[in-house]
Symmetry: C2
Subunit: 377 residues, 2 copies
């Protein structure tokens, strides 16, 4: 049975109504790049929005005709017969505003200056993204999503949908996420940001004009990120203390396999990801905190929500631990909302949400089948 | 009661016998800077060697006449009437070979070239340090230490003493340490090293000649280090999500208190610590692995040991978790050695070993009193 969403292609939505950010900054016009999988039903009740995390984008499932190896980042989850079954659902993936995969972001040309936005691109919040996503929904004629889903930073957007547009989302699937970052989470982001900000090739965010890229900073940011995506145990199992050449070199070349892995991941990332987008994404993470406006009372923050929730966490995720998910669940329950919660036993840390894992996928499939039962396909 | 070791002053020991490193590299002559507290008894049986961790040095207790605010880094632990009672013990602190506080290291002048060693300074291992420390003991006429003690990387040196010179140490006090680094530990070190190595001001380790310092890299390394020294909970308690100005700034200036703290720590460290020494220290950590030569069998690695051991860990230390200490304890017990183990309940993570903590100090005091009972003062 073919379970791939098949050949897909990116589409562009152009918005020429000014966008006012939470910060007060304004963008006069912008584009969002997105992909869709499956067919929108007659009453437009089967749409699912997939929100991406820090380094994700709109290419969520399927592959491109001219590059069959470029498979969507959540292709294990989404496709015909998969947990998010595109025979039943109309699934939308988009690249967020401020991104670097086709949506308007810091590396895009500012029509007012003819130069890349660079440092002048506004700081984006999760709330801003949800507004921009609602405009995309309007364009596609979707009044209410069957579900909004995402992992990590994507899960924050899914939760924010239930707060910003309670009537426009029936189910929120919040995976490996948190009600806000801890001081330690912010600290890791701050080190990553400082690596980029202090790279001499960053040029205050306007490196495009100098024909350089702050590769060193991006590389360090990604290396550090990777440590927090994996679990201590997973790293021990996968790399342990294995030496690349079998013996100690007594120099600063790559010696341990884990060093080789990290540097490879760093190099790969720095070759394509935009440094300003990285900064924006980490700021959006730091800022997300729906309880802040309610004296840090998360129960009150969720009072407006009307959706049903599936909350999932992974046992070895120390970046967004199960405890953080349970805090969300408690706040939802205190508001008498329908909540399903599952703590998935997985060795792979925060990255688990991107992986093919039987129990995880079973839980997702069961919940999504329930959603599919609510509308006529 | 005065419990300060009082006014102390650094002493220099000059060694003109060539030092052969584990790597095979040779240093023709070198100096070690050290301090002593208390009085060596007639049969020289009351000496304790204190080994320092990554950023430590020889100034362990007391203060300097010309700078009374410069108090030793373990002054809470060591002094008259303190857990390491200098009325009973003769305590030695030294700056390790490769350091940047007075002992010969990368920033010292190489007499053969008239220029700083820089990148040519050999990579040092824990085993090398223990050899260099034994030469200092010889110079001071100390045949056998009552105890060798240290926390973190210092604890590794204390353990190595029992393996390299089983007859020269009666007690090993290994605090907040591990039998080797995990892949995750190495990964953090690798990111820190890469921050320094890729700083354009590093100049391949020979930055001295260029009149610059790789401040950016050192700063990042220290910021990252600090995250791993603290616990998630301690950071949450101390900083939480407090904003410095009370509101979001929507820019990349310091916003959260935790950012302010980290950057301050980074700046302070980068202003005085030598980048090459930082690299050497992290390599020594990565390399320490006494079981490597015994097919990863730690029991066999400790077969040569004769000392009694006090092993201490701290509940919230995720850099060197209690589990790592228990691994050491088990290996020692399998060799029928005398072992005391205590897991101290502390909120302060890895940094706990440097702090004044009642239960911790009580355990240390009790164990050291027992040692003091073994010799005539």
């Amino acid at each position: 049975m073919n379970t791939s969403a098949g050949i897909v292609s990116a589409q562009h939505a152009v918005f020429d109504t000014p966008f006012i950010f939470k910060s007060g900054a304004v963008l006069l016009c912008y584009e969002l790049v997105y992909e869709t999988y499956g067919v929108l039903n007659a009453d437009k009740s089967n749409a699912i929005l997939v929100c991406h995390a820090l380094s994700g984008h709109h290419h969520v499932a399927g592959y491109y005709a001219d590059n069959p190896n470029n498979v969507g980042w959540w292709d294990t989850m989404i496709g015909p017969g998969k947990p998010v079954d595109t025979n039943k659902f109309f699934v939308i993936g988009l690249n967020n505003l401020g991104g670097c995969h086709g949506s308007t972001g810091p590396s895009s040309i500012n029509p007012e200056t003819g130069k890349p936005y660079g440092a002048s691109f506004p700081v984006v919040t999760v709330e801003d993204w949800v507004v921009s996503q609602s405009r995309l929904a309007n364009l596609l004629g979707i009044r209410q999503f069957a579900a909004v889903m995402g992992g990590s930073l994507g899960g924050m957007q899914a939760m924010q949908w239930s707060l910003s547009y309670p009537e426009r989302v029936r189910h929120v699937l919040a995976i490996a996420t948190a009600p806000h970052l801890t001081a330690e989470n912010i600290a890791f982001n701050d080190v990553a940001r400082n690596a980029i900000l202090t790279d001499p090739d960053f040029h205050g965010g306007n490196f495009y004009e100098h024909g350089v890229v702050p590769t060193r900073g991006l590389r360090l940011a990604r290396m550090l990120g990777h440590i927090t995506y994996l679990s201590d145990d997973a790293m021990a199992d996968k790399f342990g203390r294995s030496l690349r050449s079998g013996k100690l070199g007594y120099n600063y070349d790559i010696e341990f396999e884990i060093e080789s892995y990290l540097r490879y991941q760093g190099d790969k990332f720095a070759a394509y990801f935009d440094a300003n987008t990285y900064l924006l994404m980490t700021k959006a993470l730091d800022y997300f905190d729906p309880a802040r406006d309610y004296n840090d009372n998360l129960d009150q923050a969720f009072a407006a929500a009307r959706a049903d929730f599936l909350v999932l966490s992974f046992t070895t995720d120390w970046r967004f631990s199960p405890e953080r998910s349970r805090t969300i669940v408690n706040a939802l329950l205190h508001n008498r909302l329908n909540v399903s919660y599952s703590e998935i036993s997985s060795a792979h840390g925060h990255d688990s949400f991107l992986m093919q894992h039987e129990h995880y996928h079973e839980v997702m499939r069961a919940y999504l089948n329930r959603i599919a039962g609510e509308f006529s396909s």
